[in-house]
Symmetry: C2
Subunit: 430 residues, 2 copies
């Protein structure tokens, strides 16, 4: 069994310095948030955020693969094509999904209002929404407030922005690092995220906005972003299983006092891994803050025949209801794990499979091990542990982060739509 | 929207007569069950069943597609190759899965003991197990009791047999019909089933044993069985998502006082639909009795581009945790339904999708309909309702039966393995 933590060893080589400030930690970025009454009619919760680069920023984005795409996703996909942007306007409380032509009009109106307030072009603004599906945006409560929002922009606006994109998240998520270069110069990368919408993070509406002052080319940003997303957010995501609104945006304004990063240079590699580090920290925060989650579990598949086999096996285990239930009950039920591996589609030999809870072997060669169940229970009683599934058939590996499934989750998710409709009606909003 | 219930119209054409007796209703079949203390050490619950045809029966079976296959599945797959059998021995309480060479030896020993007690060949006996994975069979408590079990065989043994294969099922499941032929003769088909293991029936260990006294050829039985399974048990199953033990067996002993069924005849068609009817009734019982289930919901996808698209969309909705949570809370949350359709992989146009709760339209052309939410709520408050998703892009359709997801399910499934191990230890069985 291979026990090296690849992420840890990568970190060990690179002295990333965690710093304060999140998305506004990199030079030349400001943020702000206000409450427009989208999330609650009393307008006591922040629900509209604006993030701005003082200079044009090279920008790339990854959007949901769901065929039902929110209006904001459609509009942002158009705007990001230019490869450069100045601002992101984002709201919570309403997803602007399944809202037809009116939704597109509303998403464009949000971009236009932000562009006017900032004195930039409409296509320089990206727009994101998260919240309930199938209701029109309360746009009349948003547009008149955008100028005020723009006036509030400041280099300490990170916490408000992180809070304004929360839906069922219990805490704001932000992270930033400073990356010293051999030359003595440095650059910064910061970000905010929201997720937590659902039990399988893969089904959550996941938003993440990342800023950096590193000087990178469009191509290098694109390469680094695809790599980092695959190593982070995609480890908490089942392919094709994304929400209508999922969006990750990276803006790079080159304002750091450091030389341009050249293709293929050690700095380019450093940038890539630094971006991965920020995304991975945000991804872990999303999983840990999953709705009513009490356990954070890494599923690690080793020695699969191919990368695809490793991924199938890891994802099947990570999303199995029965496995997640057993995590919740601190039950070292390796039978449910091997069962999920069996139906995952991965090519396996049952009699070669070993399963470990942290370092303790529970299943050896497809059979129950001699480890006392009380020892295994001690592991799964912890709030964080790793399940390692060694297929012993090849050299490929993959890991996914998952959670338990709690009774409270079900309760929490059983009446969103009715509650929202009735709340609107009470306020005379329908 | 197409509202014809295809199953109902098929039934209307065929006067199947429901009769008592389940698996022993067809002529020449007997059954019995005893308690060996596999399910509980006090041996108060039936856990070993024997089903026997008095004469050699043409036999076919469909097994799990899980790559982790229980020992009993491996042994029965060998035995059924002959196309003829006399008996099924089945236990609950232990799945005999992930038990290695010892498991194979135990499964063979069960067949051998039954064969000896019945005076038939070992390969004439099929064996099925259901229960916990990864523990050796308490074979020493089973083998000495098989002769006693065989002595108890009788034509009224159906209810005991149905009870003995239950695990977390709350009630035994059996069904039988008499099928009158134009000639005035008739044949019978009966069956028992167990499921209920898990929230998504697709992940349950599903066993079903069907008997018939119709005179059918090996080929016709095979064709009819594949058709009927696809129309019934596979409608509550996601492809490839089966348990380590899933098994459906059909035995046909030709003891009815009716002529042989000829290939391509109206009687052959009748037999096929009668077999489908019995399997569908048993499949519905499995879904209705899912662990802690309070809702029974049919997901019907209409006008998909292809059959594959219809199936993908229906299954994605049927297995979505969030959709199931909203059913539990009687929440007509069509946004979660269209979200699942969007990530299903089915080819869709968002702006063409209509979604109905029973006859009431909730989503029209991808947008919220004008139906008052209180009317929609009335539908989803019912214990049974249908969700119809009209994709409006083609002519293919598919339906799947599903359930809600309750808090009690999670609680119930959170400590199986530890509890079983500790129970064994208390009894000095480890």
């Amino acid at each position: 069994m291979q026990t090296t933590d690849m992420e840890t060893s990568a970190q060990a080589r690179v002295p990333f310095q965690p710093i304060e400030g999140g998305i506004t930690a990199p030079h030349g970025f400001r943020a702000a948030a206000i409450s427009c009454g989208i999330k609650n009619p009393e307008a006591t919760r922040l629900d509209l955020a604006l993030i701005v680069s003082d200079t044009p920023a090279i920008t790339d984005a990854v959007f949901t693969t769901n065929k039902v795409r929110a209006a904001c996703v459609r509009v942002s996909q158009q705007h990001v094509k230019a490869g450069e942007a100045r601002a992101i306007i984002a709201n919570s409380g309403n997803a602007n999904a399944c809202t037809g032509p009116q939704g597109i009009q509303d998403a464009k109106a949000m971009c236009k209002a932000a562009a006017e307030a900032l004195g930039v072009r409409m296509r320089d603004v990206l727009v994101c929404s998260t919240g309930i599906i199938g209701m029109n945006m309360p746009i009349q409560r948003i547009l008149p407030r955008v100028a005020e929002l723009a006036e509030k922009l400041n280099p300490e606006g990170n916490d408000d922005a992180a809070r304004a994109i929360m839906t069922s998240d219990t805490k704001p998520k932000s992270y930033a690092i400073e990356v010293p270069l051999p030359s003595g110069a440095s650059f910064r990368i910061g970000g905010i995220a929201k997720g937590a919408g659902m039990i399988c993070p893969n089904m959550a509406t996941m938003l993440s906005f990342i800023t950096t002052d590193a000087k990178v080319s469009k191509d290098e940003l694109r390469r680094a972003m695809r790599f980092a997303v695959d190593q982070s957010f995609n480890r908490i995501t089942i392919d094709g299983d994304t929400s209508t609104n999922d969006t990750v945006i990276v803006m790079s304004n080159g304002q750091a006092d450091a030389p341009a990063i050249k293709k293929g240079s050690p700095e380019a590699d450093l940038f890539r891994r630094a971006l991965q580090k920020v995304m991975m920290e945000l991804a872990k925060m999303i999983v840990s803050d999953g709705e009513r989650v009490t356990k954070f579990v890494e599923i690690r598949v080793l020695h699969a025949r191919t990368q695809a086999d490793a991924k199938k096996a890891a994802e099947a285990v990570a999303k199995s209801l029965l496995v997640k239930c057993s995590f919740h009950g601190s039950d070292p039920n390796w039978g449910r794990i091997i069962h999920a591996v069996g139906y995952s589609g991965a090519r396996i030999k049952e009699e070669l499979i070993d399963i470990y809870f942290n370092g303790l072997i529970a299943c050896s060669g497809g059979l129950t091990s001699k480890t006392p169940v009380t020892d295994l229970e001690k592991v799964v009683k912890e709030p964080r542990f790793t399940v390692t599934i060694d297929l012993n058939t090849g050299t490929a590996s993959h890991n996914v982060f998952t959670t338990d499934l709690s009774e409270a989750y079900v309760d929490f998710n059983s009446s969103e739509y009715s509650a929202a409709i009735h709340a609107k009606r009470q306020k005379g909003l329908t």
